[in-house]
Symmetry: C2
Subunit: 183 residues, 2 copies
Amino acid sequence: MSSQELAERSGTTAAQVRKDLSVFGSFGQRGRGYSVRQLERTLEQILGLEKRWRVALVGAGKIGTALLGYGDLAERGFDVVAAFDTDASKIGSDLSGVRVFSMADLNEVVSDRGVEVAIIATPPEAAQNTVRLLEQAGVRGILNFAPVGLTVNEDVSVRTMDVALELEALSFALSSRTNGGRS
Amino acid sequence: MSSQELAERSGTTAAQVRKDLSVFGSFGQRGRGYSVRQLERTLEQILGLEKRWRVALVGAGKIGTALLGYGDLAERGFDVVAAFDTDASKIGSDLSGVRVFSMADLNEVVSDRGVEVAIIATPPEAAQNTVRLLEQAGVRGILNFAPVGLTVNEDVSVRTMDVALELEALSFALSSRTNGGRS
DNA sequence: ATCTTCTTGTGAAGCCTTTCACAAGCCGGA
DNA sequence: TCCGGCTTGTGAAAGGCTTCACAAGAAGAT
């Protein structure tokens, strides 16, 4: 497959694709293009996707449980190995095959099971404190669904998914386009 | 409040804050800084946040219903005025005060209620077809939770929120940092 | 009124990313 | 073997974003 075709499929330009790939090395064959199979394998390795990751879910409310039922995650290399919640009635139960623990057990369970990445789906007030607990337990990647900015140690990566924020970005795009799209 | 303080709170630099604001005009007072109140009002207007938006939800499964219970949305100016699903047992029911309609009614309901933005929370196979329906009904902003890339008309904005993709980005950050973080 | 202190708004410089353009190289056909 | 058609990999140019640095202006003290 040529860089041109890759570009069209991923919504970018041929030159961009070639430059991006060239950062990691030369995988293409001049005159022939790229072997999709080989490219897939090589990139998986480079991006750390060949590895499976152990994930913990903190907050087994609506959003948390919805994520567990998402399915897709396991196929893409992420095993949710534990969930945590403050609600006593949930502790000990099974959500889509994942055991729910008390927050008090977080440190122990996360350390024992070698959890590297956590998903925070707590109410916003509880999110920052959850970060503290996770950092102490050795988690270095956090996906945050609580609509708040989080402060983390330097050696921890966070990504926040805020639905309302994304809608706001959409609304900005829409209104600037409508009001005679200056720029 | 000075640009310095604004920068610290939002995790950027003072120069960046001033440059960004200068795109829209001059709101600060030399020697004094910015009036937070006035800044808030002005930016709300500019970003189109003073307006309320009517939102439709397509796909009333786990993720969809979780989003409805999210609360935060209404506070931030987004009213979910209709939901759609293919499951006959859900049609006609109420989810957190939102009526669930058949997909067959999408065009009519969306047009009648003046929906401008839609959230797609369908299975990935159904997402692209949903885009078609929404475009025909006049929706111009789409927030997509299905883990697929979507093709849309030029006058429509899409944002995709893919949990596994975000986790993959995290895992890349983690593994590059571990493997002697070159660069 | 003048001086000192503070902070903005903005040209200019620096840096990084994207695009251009083309030599180098691969393949199939004659 | 030689040629013509394609496509990569990459230096160089262009474009965009971030940081620097400083004149212009505001407020309070003397």
